[in-house]
């Protein structure tokens, strides 16, 4: 029957999730760690860039914004390829030994999601910037205090940018596959297998139930984070 293998796969997937399959949870934890670090790096670099861009007014600002906006849609496979060429042993950054490491994936994902963090942060700041900026300044704030106030007022937007970035990072395949290589050895310390590379591999191998289980986990994780951020944003708006 056409639906049988899907239903069987689903049932098997729930069994794996409930039974606490170690391989499955190992991949999940690695994915969260790798993409979480990528989001942290992107936040540390992207939020200040977004704040400065959002608060400043100079010739060429729109061009820079357009570049970041355009890069939000970069195909992950293309970025993965570019990074591979740079990080391969014979490449210009081969000496860093980042190829086939989780650090390499994190840095690659950071590059992928940086434009998301910058663009959403800039938009959030520009949507309220002038009013809040003028108000803070006229109440006696200096430039730094004013900037801190603008960041405080736009924090829900900045949080949204980090959520969108994390979701993009954890759900991408190109960078994780080309830079990470989907390495997995039981008990190994250099494993690079993450949710997306594992799903791709299990589908190729015909192990549908494991692929579905990982797919359910990935979707649940993305929704859980989105709902949590939405809840926090609502609480923030009410505060």
């Amino acid at each position: 029957m056409a639906w049988d293998y899907i239903i069987e796969g689903l049932l098997e997937a729930f069994k794996l999730i409930i039974s606490g399959d170690p391989e499955l949870y190992d991949i999940l934890l690695r994915s969260i760690k790798v993409s979480g670090l990528a989001t942290l790096y992107a936040g540390l670099i992207g939020v200040p860039i977004g704040v400065i861009l959002g608060l400043s007014d100079f010739k060429g600002k729109d061009v820079i914004k357009s570049i970041f906006n355009g890069l939000m849609g970069i195909p992950t496979v293309v970025l993965g390829l570019i990074l591979y060429l740079f990080l391969a042993p014979a490449g210009p950054l081969g000496f860093l030994n980042l190829l086939y490491t989780t650090t390499g994936i994190s840095l690659g994902q950071m590059i992928l999601i940086l434009p998301i963090v910058v663009s959403i942060t800039v938009n959030s700041i520009e949507s309220i910037e002038e009013d809040v900026r003028y108000l803070a300044l006229t109440l006696g704030a200096d430039e730094t205090q004013m900037m801190m106030k603008v960041i405080e007022e736009t924090s829900p937007g900045i949080l949204l940018s980090l959520m969108a970035a994390f979701n993009r990072a954890i759900a991408e395949l190109g960078v994780a596959l080309m830079i990470g290589g989907n390495i997995f050895i039981k008990g190994g310390e250099m494993n690079t297998r993450v949710l997306t590379t594992a799903i791709q591999m299990y589908v190729t191998r015909g192990e549908i139930s494991m692929a579905i289980a990982l797919g359910i986990i990935l979707l649940s994780l993305v929704y859980l984070i989105s709902m949590t951020v939405n809840y926090i944003q609502r609480r923030w708006a009410d505060s």
Binding site: Y134, G140, A141
Partner: protein, 235 residues
């Protein structure tokens, strides 16, 4: 105290202010009158040192505002036509100006409560400022300014869209500031209000200050035809 000489302000091709020359003395109340789009708010933003991107010279107590706007902003505050509230409670909003000036918590609490009580909004102290009505927000905006003991208070059409009760509160505040010897500059469309509250008026049309003079003189005997048309309601 405030000396503006040959101020020009443009937005692209549009000239917003044209050769504005204006002096405001310490302790006086100046009303700036003019139609919508005449350049009143642009002028107020320059006077309050929020906009220093203009041609000409602006001296505040002898300080060149273009060179040190931050220092001037410590002495001048502006209440906007549409009051913007920061996130947080009414108390946090009103306390902000004192907090950034580095006052201690005890003083801030005492001062904020005193001003909230004076404006009759002490009961709103712990309410979410963003959820207040328009009139309440305007009172909070006035409280934010009033809590600062500074030289110059600027009000941009502070009573437009307010009911009678809130208008009374705002006008009472301006009178009280005058009584304390503070300098007050405000814009209004309400000619009677300008007459009630100001010592002098400046009439601005298409970015140009057409006439400045003592309030009663300008209303009774305007020297310029354009001022005459405005104060006599000949639109």
């Amino acid at each position: 105290m405030i000396v503006l000489k040959g101020i020009f302000k443009t937005f692209g091709d549009k000239v917003a202010l044209k050769d504005v020359n204006l002096t405001v003395n310490k302790g006086e109340a100046l009303a700036i009158l003019g139609y919508s789009g005449a350049g009143k708010t642009t002028l107020l933003k320059i006077i309050s040192a929020l906009d220093v991107d203009f041609e000409g010279t602006y001296l505040f107590k002898g300080i060149d505002v273009k060179k040190d706007p931050e220092k001037v902003r410590k002495c001048i505050t502006m209440v906007f036509q549409n009051p913007v509230m920061f996130k947080g409670t009414v108390f946090e909003n009103v306390a902000y100006g004192l907090k950034v000036r580095g006052y201690c918590k005890g003083y801030i609490k005492e001062k904020v409560d005193e001003v909230l009580e004076y404006l009759g909004i002490l009961d709103l102290r712990d309410k979410n400022a963003k959820r207040l009505s328009g009139g309440e927000k305007q009172r909070v905006a006035v409280a934010r300014a009033l809590v600062l003991d500074i030289d110059v208070y600027i009000f941009d059409e502070p009573t437009s869209n307010l009911d009678i009760e809130n208008i009374k509160v705002v006008e009472g505040t301006i009178k009280e500031l005058k009584r304390k010897g503070k300098t007050v500059i405000f814009t209004t469309h309400d000619l009677l209000q300008a007459r009630r509250l100001s010592d002098r008026v400046a009439y601005i049309e298409r970015g140009e200050i057409v006439e400045v003079g003592e309030t009663e003189r300008v209303f009774k005997d305007p020297k310029d035809e354009r001022t005459y048309r405005f104060v006599s309601g000949m639109f």
